[in-house]
Subunit: 149 residues, 2 copies
DNA sequence: GGATAATCGGATTCTTATATCCTAATTATC
DNA sequence: GATAATTAGGATATAAGAATCCGATTATCC
């Protein structure tokens, strides 16, 4: 239901949030989060343009979060790569003279509002501080911590 | 956020539910609900295959609901054309040895569950019996009622 | 039984999303 | 200043979704 790009964007931002604050390269994020590296590069560019992530080029460069994880909502990530388009007026009403939605589109829009609400009330901090039973990611993070600086 | 095909499928089924029970042709539904007729034909075929709609060929043929509107949930329509794929296990965990989701995918899956719940608890009957302020559809339905049998 | 109205199904096109690759620009280090 | 590491951006390929078209099939009516 969510686009592949949204998936990758969320994974990337989670990776950065779970890291130690030093810049992470595309390659490392890609390996860590199992994302196609060349596509991830594009997604990261979009996140930079969207103001969620900062990049530094050159040796020892990479990507870091632009704000603290507690300041980043999941919704903001989605908004960058494929924003939820709420239904403003009934798409069957070509003249747009009705500001009230028809029952069908009221339901559709309501469903979207639930998602918006869910992602709008969750911060990255919550996601990374929650107990993490995913063994794959756990292992990767452990390797990261074991790295020499 | 929902596919165009889902939109069209829901519109078509609402049209049938709001009708008088006589078969409606693709053309009429298309005009009524502002859907590309040739594509609607495909969507209707899918709905027939999914068991939500019955079709009769030939003169005076067309499409009718397979069940009463009170027996059809919005979720069933979505399931036919683009079913919600709940996240069973973390897609970053290639071995699939963890049945518990990681925090990120727990959130993503939860958002989907909200949509599933919303559409799973709404019947077509509720949608069509709700007061309908969409002037476009109102007009079309009025025309339909004024038709000679 | 023939003419007509309608769905059905396949083939095709168009558009968008996903993914890859290569070159240019940038920066730390030696 | 040269070198290696890294992002940025453009061009391109591949896949999937959306939409169209047309001939075949089916059913009704006269």
């Amino acid at each position: 239901m969510f686009s592949q790009t949204t998936e990758y964007a969320m994974r990337a931002v989670v990776a950065l949030a779970a890291g130690d604050g030093r810049p992470m390269t595309t390659k490392r994020i890609a390996e860590m989060m199992r994302v196609p590296p060349s596509y991830l590069a594009k997604v990261l560019q979009a996140l930079v343009r969207g103001g969620l992530v900062n990049s530094t080029r050159g040796l020892r460069g990479g990507f870091v979060l632009a704000k603290a994880p507690s300041e980043i909502k999941l919704l903001a990530i989605m908004d960058v790569v494929s924003p939820i388009k709420r239904i403003e007026h009934c798409p069957m009403d070509h003249d747009g003279h009705s500001s009230v939605l028809c029952p069908l589109h009221r339901r559709l829009d309501h469903a979207m509002s639930l998602v918006e609400e869910a992602f709008g009330s969750t911060t990255l901090q919550e996601v990374i501080s929650e107990e993490n039973p995913c063994p794959t990611l756990q292992g990767e993070l452990q390797q990261l911590r074991d790295l020499p600086s």
